[in-house]
């Protein structure tokens, strides 16, 4: 075997410690969603490409990086795609199965696939929430708060939320006098972080007063900053009033709840489908996920005109911030060691393990004779005359006790297991 990895570029193996951290993220997210009244769903890994190419779903730079192909029955030319984003699949699920409902609160933990260069990950895991129904502005506040609580539960700190609104960029584009087609293209350039677009827009807005960069690239704290933006730009760009109003309600409510908010007026994220307040979670300057309002998406995938919003946390990034699994978890772990390969001894060892698992203890049978173990407890099972003998060893105290039957062992460990 050569040293060269046989793993595909951008794909990752999760080792036991990685999985332990990943499961902690999943558990914290899932527990929080269930406690807030959300229901779990799962959508297929493969979807039709056209769901994503329709106007207003994914930005062109993302569409150029999806894994799309013709399926084995794709002679009709209908391409399919490895899910590049979970929200659009969830919207399709709603339209197909729940379209009559006025309100749906859904969550999922799913992988998404997007091409990235070099060793950058091409598969990511999203802990996502979708809130489908007319909930503005309460839903916007709830979603940010729910994500914030998950971060708190995981001990990810100091976290912050950056808020923005795509209506701000769109208002500027309209004020600049761009034709609708030019607005679409310019908006995509903003999504693609094209630095030249600001200069071009400034040339079209000579009466702006202050630098457009201040509006499109600046950021500040909470409602105070929003007030400043309003005073500086709303006179020259009247279309800014409604997005600033929407943002102000959300920012003030969250501030009162102790959520640290930064306002980055035009950091609209990577998705064309956002229509209202957009937010991003970060810790130490590192983005951990985000979401926003996407009132047009349900109609774009063939459903009714229904407002909606949602967010997703990046499970991989969150897991990477967590400490290694604690050794303390082994406090309640037991290794059962049969001292020979005789069938009676093996049967007694496995029966012992079953009984201890019944007490809620993590119990493994040592599958190799010389297997070392990090478990606190070790039970050695061996023959003594016609019967079996059981020796219980506590690695923390180095104390050893022998029992003539299994009941003695279980009675001794019941305290550890917390059993009555």
């Amino acid at each position: 075997m050569s040293d060269e990895s046989q793993r595909c570029h951008g794909m990752r193996d999760l080792l036991p410690a990685d999985m332990a951290r990943f499961r902690r993220v999943e558990a914290a997210f899932r527990d929080a969603c269930l406690a807030w009244g959300y229901q779990e769903v799962r959508t297929p890994t493969i979807e039709h490409l056209h769901l994503f190419t329709a106007a207003g779903t994914l930005a062109p730079h993302m569409l150029g990086r999806v894994y799309s192909f013709l399926d084995w029955d794709g002679w009709s030319g209908e391409r399919v795609v490895l899910r590049p984003d979970a929200t659009i699949g969830a919207a399709r699920l709603f339209v197909e199965h729940m379209r009559g409902e006025k309100l749906a609160k859904l969550f999922y933990i799913q992988n998404v696939f997007r091409f990235a260069g070099g060793d950058e990950p091409r598969e990511g895991w999203q802990c996502g929430v979708e809130l489908l129904g007319d909930t503005q502005p309460r839903g916007d506040v709830e979603l940010v708060l729910l994500g914030w609580r998950v971060l708190e539960c995981l001990g990810v700190a100091p976290a912050e939320v950056r808020l923005s609104h795509p209506g701000i960029v769109r208002a500027v584009l309209a004020q600049a006098g761009l034709e609708p087609a030019e607005q679409v293209r310019a908006y995509d350039r903003v999504l693609d972080s094209d630095p030249s677009v600001v200069g071009e827009l400034e040339g079209r807005l000579p009466d702006l007063g202050a630098s457009l960069r201040l509006l499109l690239e600046g950021e500040g704290s909470g409602s105070a900053y929003l007030a400043n933006v309003r005073n500086t730009f709303a006179g020259a760009v009247p279309g800014l009033a409604w997005p600033l109003d929407e943002l102000t309600v959300v920012v003030k409510a969250l501030g009162a709840l102790g959520v640290r908010c930064r306002v980055a007026t035009a950091a609209v994220g990577s998705f064309e489908y956002y229509t209202g307040p957009v937010f991003q979670f970060a810790a130490g300057g590192r983005p951990l996920g985000g979401g926003g309002r996407y009132d047009g998406l349900i109609a774009l995938v063939g459903g009714p005109s229904l407002p909606a919003s949602g967010f997703a946390l990046d499970a991989d990034k969150l897991a990477s911030l967590l400490p290694s699994p604690e050794a303390g978890a082994l406090e309640r772990a037991v290794a059962v060691q049969p001292i020979s390969e005789q069938s009676e001894v093996l049967a007694a060892a496995f029966a012992t393990a079953d009984a201890l698992r019944g007490l809620g203890l993590w119990t493994e049978v040592a599958l190799a004779i010389d297997q070392s173990s990090a478990c606190r407890w070790r039970v050695t099972v061996g023959p003594k005359g016609e019967a079996m003998t059981f020796t219980l060893y506590d690695a923390s105290t180095r104390r050893r006790r022998s029992f003539a039957d299994l009941d003695g062992v279980t009675a001794a460990l019941e305290v550890t297991a917390g059993a009555p």
Partner: protein, 479 residues
């Protein structure tokens, strides 16, 4: 390592040959009818030339298999739009006639401007440049579009079998001459000299680069690749419902162009069928029939199985190799061989270099394993068949290199193995190749859909199939 230049075959070869001569690089064995894909540059040691189909050249340059290449702008952009690569550098346009790539619509009842496309669901785009067609569809925000890559004759598909065609043409007038209304020009320009970036940085390319860069009359200055592609910006609009497609009441037959055309004409004559504009001497894209309810189009044989599967055509005269390629890719496709017509026989074969001391695939694999070949490169115009062949023969690790032609030049430098059709074996011998496994006898066959067709159309269809069957039986009996 020699200095390697990739040259285009096909129609561009003659012009490039003359251009190179003008640059003081007179080549022998290039566009003079030679079957070899390795022309020579006399009196210049250390220069290796190879002829490829145009579309394969940017791939070879990006991979670093060749240092320099010459090919059409559309072929370069087709590669870059799907696989943007820093490794491919566009050096300069060459003083050769420009060619454009146009999006064309049917001249009657089709859209007349790009704005007419906004929000139209389910548009079918056909092109020899499927990745550029897709880039157009994405930029124009066409909802639920479908791209149909074809080997050629894209212009003949609209309006019945496609809504838009993305076609190469010298001018808008040429597009109109094809029966299409040009909606948008995606690009236009002469062929380009391209290079591998790493080679530019580390290898002295001056024996070729000097004369080629010194050529005058180069036309437009070199630009960035992304500025050469003119993608549309179309206003967003809600997607309309797809227009229902009404099945044709006529029996639609696809006939082959290219080298299969003379034998197909003979087959038709033997079956007692004659179409104005299609005989042993030549063809037009839309021959006419005196049989009521029968419609005929001439397209590439490679494209026929999918067209029959889609229901665009009821019958098609193609090769078994094309049908197998389609079924390897789409096993449940509703197209089948209705009649073995018997003509155009050749063997699909595994082909290696004559220098490889192997007479069978097993021996070849043993040698490659002993040589430490980590990944067996399999080049073929039939990538799905090649993939199936590699899987069923348990290649340990392999790459299928889809190519558009000129395949005999790939072995041994750029591939270990070819999956290739062999008729006489003469071209193989001239390129120092040999077959080690002839695994499929391919003949011309009549393709038909597996769906049931009733009424008058069904009756005519059955009569036509029977005519072909009788002709095939007579042929088999030596009649």
């Amino acid at each position: 390592m020699p200095l390697k230049l990739a040259l285009p075959g096909g129609q561009l070869a003659r012009r490039v040959d003359a251009l190179l001569a003008r640059a003081g690089l007179a080549i022998s064995g290039y566009s003079d009818g030679s079957r070899s894909y390795r022309p020579r540059l006399p009196e210049r040691d250390g220069v290796l030339l190879r002829v490829f189909r145009e579309k394969d050249i940017p791939i070879q340059i990006a991979l670093g298999n060749y240092h320099l290449g010459i090919c059409g702008l559309a072929s370069v952009q087709e590669q870059l739009v799907r696989y943007p690569s820093e490794a491919l550098v566009m050096l300069r346009p060459l003083p050769l006639p420009p060619v454009g790539l146009y999006v064309g619509a049917p001249q009657s009842e089709g859209p007349t401007t790009l704005a007419d496309l906004a929000g139209r669901r389910g548009l079918r785009l056909v092109s020899e440049f499927p990745d550029l067609a897709e880039a157009f569809a994405l930029a124009a925000r066409l909802p639920a579009y479908r791209i149909f890559p074809v080997w050629g004759a894209a212009e003949v598909y609209p309006p019945e079998d496609a809504d838009l065609a993305v076609v190469a043409a010298a001018s808008e007038q040429e597009v109109i001459g094809h029966g299409l209304a040009p909606l948008h020009r995606l690009l236009a320009g002469p062929p380009w000299l391209i290079a591998h970036r790493g080679s530019l940085q580390e290898k002295d390319l001056s024996p070729l680069l000097g004369p080629l860069m010194a050529l005058d009359g180069a036309g437009a200055p070199a630009g960035r690749a992304d500025t050469l592609l003119e993608l549309p910006a179309v206003p967003m609009a809600a997607g309309s419902a797809p227009a229902p497609r009404i099945a044709s009441e006529r029996v639609r037959v696809a006939l082959p162009d290219g080298h299969q055309q003379p034998s197909a004409a003979t087959i038709l004559r033997n079956a007692g069928l004659s179409f104005a504009g299609y005989d042993e001497e030549g063809w037009v894209r839309r021959p006419t029939s005196s049989i009521a309810g029968l419609e005929v189009k001439v397209i590439r044989p490679h494209d026929m199985p999918q067209q029959v599967a889609l229901g665009n055509f009821d019958l098609a005269i193609s090769g078994r190799d094309c049908l197998l390629e389609h079924h390897c890719r789409f096993p449940a496709s509703p197209v089948a061989e209705a009649v073995d017509l018997g003509g155009g026989q050749f063997d699909l074969s595994a082909v290696v270099s004559q220098d490889l001391p192997a007479e069978s695939l097993a021996q070849a694999m043993a040698i490659w394993r002993a040589q430490g070949v980590g990944s067996i490169r399999v080049a073929s115009e039939f990538p799905a068949i090649a993939d199936d062949y590699a899987r069923t023969h348990r290649f340990w690790r392999y790459q299928v290199i889809p190519i558009g032609g000129a395949s005999e030049g790939f072995v041994p430098e750029d591939a270990e193995l070819l999956i290739e059709g062999i008729q006489t074996g003469r071209t193989l011998a001239e390129n120092n190749l040999k077959a080690i496994d002839r695994f499929l006898r391919s003949t011309t066959c009549l393709l038909a859909g597996r769906r049931e067709v009733s009424g008058r159309k069904g009756k005519l269809l059955a009569q036509l199939i029977e005519r072909f069957r009788e002709a095939a039986n007579q042929r088999a009996a030596g009649g």
